[in-house]
């Protein structure tokens, strides 16, 4: 039997996709965990960031720093557009608008009228060219066994996890600052915070933009090792991010990192185990059913977690959201 899948699954811990999901989830923690903003469109922020980066690089031949700047500005603008009409209203308006806006983005980029710019339904390829051009690692193979990476694969891992570490550091500093105190107050009761002389709208907007920019950068990171596919940014992506957030702990800084690692390792391990079971005839399912069944396993794991450790793996029991 082939047990390589165990190694491959462990490799997910450091994969750039895991890093991208962690980064997007850190943004979500800023929104939901710390400020109480119900953003159901983090996938939209990832799409905006990914497209801004790819279009700047491929269509405008922008150098890497300009493409990164475009990513940041586009996702900040997206946050501004969503926030201005909704952040003065009740919390649920933001959730409706964000989920709709992220679907609008995904469907718009696929229209044939925009194919010249967005690549239509097939998306865009090769956005990593400027990124790989500055790869400082000499060509060659790194790692061991099945976990052997090319220089480009190593480069994207190093940069991806550096970004995640930086984001963790900034969020860590923010939530321990008076700024963090104000946004946590807003999460609890925004009228109380208003009565204490804080400009609640401005703080909510800052949080929405900051978390959205993290989502946009995650979108950029996500397409560095792969092509840009519009259908990767469906609503299920947002819900995976919520799953990761709840796994790790919605009010923690490092929870998204742990959550993302567990999420991807679990998916990959269960995939391998199911394949093993199917091939050896132990499991009464087909390999077509294998994909969806992995998500059932993750779902069951999440349900168990919410029952037995509602604060998430790293969370503080006293700050749990789902208390009776």
């Amino acid at each position: 039997m082939d047990f390589n899948f165990i190694w491959l699954s462990l490799g997910e811990i450091a994969s750039p996709t895991t890093a991208a999901y962690a980064l997007a989830t850190i943004g979500l923690v800023v929104h939901f965990g710390f400020t109480g903003l119900l953003n159901f469109g983090q996938a939209g922020f990832m799409a905006v960031g990914g497209y801004a980066f790819a279009i700047a690089t491929l269509k405008f031949d922008a150098p890497l720093p300009m493409a990164v700047l475009a990513t940041i500005l586009a996702s900040a603008l997206f946050a501004l557009i969503l926030g201005i009409p909704t952040l003065r209203l009740r919390a649920d308006y933001l959730s409706i608008v964000t989920i709709a806006a992220s679907e609008i983005i995904r469907l718009s980029v696929k229209t044939s009228e925009l194919t010249d710019i967005t690549g239509g339904a097939t998306g865009l390829n090769g956005a990593a060219k400027t990124f790989n051009a500055i790869n400082p690692f000499p060509k060659g193979n790194y790692g061991f066994g099945v976990l052997t990476y090319t220089a480009d694969q190593l480069w994207v891992r190093v940069v991806g996890w550096t970004l995640v570490a930086l984001a963790c550091l900034v969020v860590f500093l923010l939530v321990r600052s008076p700024w963090g105190r104000v946004v946590k107050g807003i999460r609890e009761d925004e009228d109380a915070v208003r009565s204490l002389g804080k400009n609640v709208f401005s703080y909510k907007m800052q949080a929405l933009i900051f978390g959205g920019v993290l989502g946009g950068l995650a979108g950029m990171l996500f397409i560095l090792p792969r092509s840009l596919q519009p259908d990767n940014y469906g609503t299920q992506l947002t819900f995976f991010l919520y799953t990761i957030m709840l796994l790790g702990g919605a009010t923690t800084v490092f929870g998204p990192v742990i959550g993302s690692m567990i999420f991807w390792v679990t998916l990959s391990l269960s995939d391998g185990l199911l394949a093993l079971g199917i091939n050896s005839g132990i499991l009464p399912i087909t390999s077509v059913q294998q994909g969806p069944v992995r998500f059932i396993i993750v779902g069951v794991a999440l349900a168990l977690l919410v029952v037995f450790r509602p604060q998430g793996i790293l969370g503080n029991k006293k700050e749990v959201f789902f208390s009776a």
Binding site: S177, P178, W179, R181, R194, S195, L196, F210
Partner: protein, 308 residues
């Protein structure tokens, strides 16, 4: 703390809307309707500076709505009001607070998933670390943080909450939350403190200390406007009483005499047109609600008289 004498408060004959010698808040023609219902319709009222003013009136009189309007939490259909001589109409709630007019809520708003001390620190002003970029550089705000923490500590000690400093606010009792909300509002060193039913739901043992805290505020030079139902409390600490009914100010006066004002009795009785006032039990029921010894006595005396 002695009561402020009436002649130091008013600048004219006692009647609804009477001019004050030294008003901190002057309200003109403020009206708020909800659909067909006129919740607030105040022609003119002035709040005397440096005194404790009680705002009373039956349930639904519009007291909370009036608070919301004055503090920027709600917008009136029309009207204007001045605080310390500056126009406040149209000013958003957070700016109202910054100008020195803070309020608490009828339904206590303790920030449950935050520690008591963090609740307090949130009330501080001029904290540079509340700016997102400065927040990243603790050396720019640590000094201010230490200063406001000291202030928070002393306020908590005054309100006997210092032992609870590191507990989550959600673990406090209802009365303690009221105290915390009040202490938190005081962090900004306001000029006018508006308390919406500060005693509601507070256990009787805490009521006395709450009263002392309110009188303390006056002693420190603050102006207090508070909504209260318990007439004992009003008699004990208020220098001045404003009575609202059906959105209007129907009477004003010192606590010793205002309750016998026919307009006030009307206001409370008017809220009970479905109670049978022909029976003694009906009258007592109304009197109970007013919690006014004065009226209860009157009703009982009358009954004794009739019985003879």
């Amino acid at each position: 703390m002695p009561k402020t004498p009436v002649d130091q408060i008013v600048a004219g004959p006692i009647e609804p809307g009477v001019k004050k010698k030294n008003p901190i808040l002057v309200v003109d023609g403020v009206r708020r309707t909800f659909g067909g219902l006129t919740a607030v319709n105040v022609d003119h009222v002035e709040i005397p500076a440096g005194a404790v003013t009680a705002l009373i009136g039956p349930n639904g009189a519009g007291k909370t709505t009036f608070f919301n309007l004055l503090t920027g939490f709600d917008k009136p259909n029309e009207g204007s009001w001045n605080f310390k001589g500056e126009n406040l109409a149209g000013v958003p709630a957070f700016k109202v607070a910054r100008r020195g007019m803070v309020r608490t809520f009828q339904l206590t708003k303790a920030l449950s998933l935050m520690k008591v001390i963090d609740n307090m620190l949130l009330g501080a002003t001029k904290q540079p670390g509340e700016n997102m970029f400065r927040a990243l550089f603790p050396f720019t705000w640590k000094q201010r943080e230490a200063d406001v923490e000291e202030r928070a500590q002393s306020l908590l000690a005054r309100f006997k909450l210092d032992a609870k400093k590191d507990d989550y606010a959600g673990s406090l009792s209802g009365g303690q939350r009221k105290l915390l909300e009040m202490a938190r509002a005081l962090m900004s060193d306001p000029d006018l403190v508006m308390l919406d039913e500060p005693m509601a739901g507070v256990n009787p043992a805490l009521t006395q200390s709450l009263l002392h805290h309110i009188l303390d505020l006056k002693e420190q030079g603050m102006t207090v406007l508070f909504v209260e139902h318990d007439m004992h409390v009003v008699q004990e600490i208020a220098d001045w009483v404003i009575v609202m009914a059906e959105g209007k100010v129907v009477a004003e006066g010192p606590p010793s005499t205002v309750m016998s004002d026919p307009a006030v009795i009307d206001a409370y009785l008017g809220a009970h047109h479905d109670t049978d006032l022909g029976t003694i039990s009906g009258q007592l029921e109304v009197a109970e609600e007013m919690e006014s010894d004065l009226i209860r006595h009157e009703v009982e005396e009358e009954a004794a008289h009739d019985g003879k």
